[in-house]
Symmetry: C2
Subunit: 439 residues, 2 copies
């Protein structure tokens, strides 16, 4: 079985937009044990498009095309399909599709726009695929031995149509099954992670394991291809070996995020969290609220971006801010303690740092971009809160520094809730362990 | 000139990671008036990789390859290059590259790891490209008439090496120049935006204009190809025509974000902003702090996620929350007014809504997922703050609802600061204009 995916659009070809559809479709095929073998992208050029369709149809069993089905003049997929599949023949207007598009506009209290009429046209040998989320129907047909599906580019429309029209049509493979799994860790580097896995990474091993890194999250991708039943067992065994090798940095499998992992711990403990953010500006809170059901354990927080707000809202002493500076260990501690009390909550995370870039006229050369203090305060016994502050120096641009800061904060809380030693080495901690004293 | 880009990695092929490198490289080529014509992606399979390299080298003048140069066993690019360019010959160890890798580890106080030694190997006919940000050097060489560059996959490493080694090498085109521009708007739909541009979108027009939409931001991409000087003039003229057609929804050109546009207005007016967020959970604050220099105009804000926090931190009346509900016009107003006072600031934005998904046991069927109230309070004269609340109903998942909410809030403030009528129709407003009365 030879599967190909063709993405269409000048905006992809010119680098003005990143194609996320292809990755999603590949993942869907993979879940069905169908390994895609080729991805291509072409721009909004009718001749190039027709040539790419003809070339891929000649070498593929299934070709999925995304994009170029809209109502505007740079939407050329239906015409290129006509050129490739039925050269020399005009497109025909599909009456049912025309009625559907008209209904779509009527339901929204609008008259059918003339330019949308073209969306009801199809090559004579193709059929229309209904689009529940937009005005662009899809197209399906065959060319030689290749089944062709053309879907609109907006991800929400494309995904629904893949699910409704394409995936149920796909062939079932032989006895072999491909199952995949991901194990996610945070706080170790990619080489270290590879070293820890050792022979698990061998190319000829079954299941096959590869490592990727994305903004500090290290993921082991497990791809197990074997007879049904066997494939799942082998995946489970390999997952466990990876989790042991990467302990205590592993926070979850597959799509699990750090926030979801921490949320699970807090929900189980019946505890709550508040956040006090400076340089991350709300990113930590956003990451938490990304998780449905976060209201079970997240009360909310402060974006105490200006120094004055750190004093006014969280009770950080004005003198402390003056003497130690906003980016300092005592201020991170005071922010966390202030947040814990003002919540009140069981745990409070604080982040204060220099996200960068520095301006030409900025003082404070001793606090370089990337320097971040992360605080964690937890409701203690009578002795007051249990407070931890750790110092990091992140590389990368403003977004990289802030994203890693928010993720590190969640890993610190995860460690505490899982009784992991609080001095467990973490990537980017500063000074580095063993490098001795203040740098 | 035929440029191709080949991205390598099982994680791309299997849909576990989205390829952002190809878009970035395409953008760089385009800036130099070089139009890429083909993108391909293949997995970590030595034979498939070698075949793709040979096929693309046969039809291209320049081939840029990303990924597969790391130290692990699924990094096969150098071997596949050997297979394609110098079949039957072993790779050789490059002494200079070996020393550079050793130095890289020494500077970090670590011993050279055995698995990294392979990174100093190259096909006999290729040369190494230094990597200032990692252990993987790149490779450069020619095959027939095609210049080949292989760069590591991590974006920071790839980008630096493109800038240092690849872009300076590329050919200069003839007198023709390609310049691009983007005009960004928020608050109108894609069909409406296209309707307003009319003949500007004609395929045979110069400059060529296309429209894309991403989470509510509508962008017109202008691609002007003409003699130097002429290309820029035509782009400026077309940009202006688009801006007139899309007024007052246009907030900026090229990479300008809504937050940057609002920041420019506030900085000019010498005014400040605070935020009070519920369902967005800090996303609005994050979006603001994404902009370097936001401290000039952004004081900070609250993530008043739990109802209790809306009362405790922002002074929203407990009875009001009980009677009207947290997702209501008066609560959005009270959050904005409370934030304005507690800042204190010149403007306060508030967001409260149902991000979804609903849980099976959730009450409040009259407040469906996607329903969001956005408030704006501005310091007024003696009569107290000037308060505006508008109601929206967004489609899409949790992330889509929240992202659009944050963006809409910024557009509302932008309208106020630019003296745009506050009842200007906005996409997703609810009830829709002209649909009459409460739905």
């Amino acid at each position: 079985m030879h599967f190909s995916i063709l993405a269409i659009g000048d905006e992809l070809m010119l680098g003005q937009k990143v194609d996320t559809n292809t990755a999603w479709i590949s993942g869907q095929l993979l879940e069905r044990s169908l390994l895609p073998v080729e991805h291509r992208t072409v721009g909004d050029d009718r001749a190039q498009l027709a040539a790419a369709i003809a070339a891929l149809a000649a070498t593929s069993d299934v070709l999925v095309i995304t994009g170029g089905l809209g109502p505007t003049e740079d939407d050329l997929t239906r015409f290129a399909l006509g050129d490739a599949l039925t050269p020399g023949r005009e497109l025909v207007a599909d009456e049912a599709a025309g009625r559907t598009i008209e209904r779509w506009f009527r339901r929204r209290g609008r008259a059918l726009q003339e330019r949308n009429a073209v969306q009801a046209q199809r090559p004579t040998t193709m059929r229309m695929l209904e689009n529940p989320n937009g005005t662009a129907p899809g197209l399906a047909g065959t060319h030689g031995r290749c089944a062709i599906y053309a879907l609109p580019g907006p991800p929400a429309e494309m995904k629904a149509m893949m699910r409704d029209h394409v995936l149920p049509d796909l062939p079932v493979t032989d006895g072999m099954r491909v199952v995949t799994g991901i194990v996610n860790a945070y706080g170790i580097g990619e080489s270290d992670a590879a070293e820890r896995l050792g022979p698990i990474l061998a190319r000829d091993r079954q299941p096959r394991v590869g490592i990727t890194a994305s903004a500090g999250v290290i993921s082991a991708r497990v791809l197990s291809r074997a007879a049904a039943g066997e494939a799942e067992t082998q995946r489970a065994d390999t997952n466990q070996r990876i989790e042991r090798a990467w302990s205590p940095y592993v926070f979850g499998r597959d799509e699990t995020t750090l926030a979801a992992a921490v949320g699970g711990q807090l929900r189980e403990a019946g505890q709550t969290l508040v956040t006090a953010e400076s340089c991350t500006g709300g990113w930590l809170g956003k990451m938490i609220v990304d998780e449905p059901g976060a209201s079970d354990w997240y009360l909310g927080g402060w974006v105490s971006y200006a120094n004055d707000m750190k004093s006014r809202w969280l009770g950080v002493g004005a003198e402390l801010l003056e003497v130690a500076g906003a980016v300092s260990e005592p201020v991170a501690a005071a922010m966390a303690v202030g947040a814990l009390e003002h919540g009140p909550a069981d745990h409070a995370l604080s982040i204060t740092g220099v996200a960068g870039p520095t301006r030409p006229d900025e003082p404070e050369p001793e606090k370089p971009p990337g320097l971040v203090f992360i605080g964690l305060a937890s409701r203690g016994d009578d002795d007051g809160p249990e407070v931890l502050v750790r110092r990091f120096r992140y590389r990368g641009d403003r977004a990289a520094v802030r994203l890693r800061s928010a993720r590190t904060a969640l890993q610190l809380l995860r460690f505490r809730l899982a009784d992991v030693r609080e001095d467990t080495p973490l990537l980017w901690q500063y000074p580095r362990p063993g490098s001795g004293g203040d740098p």
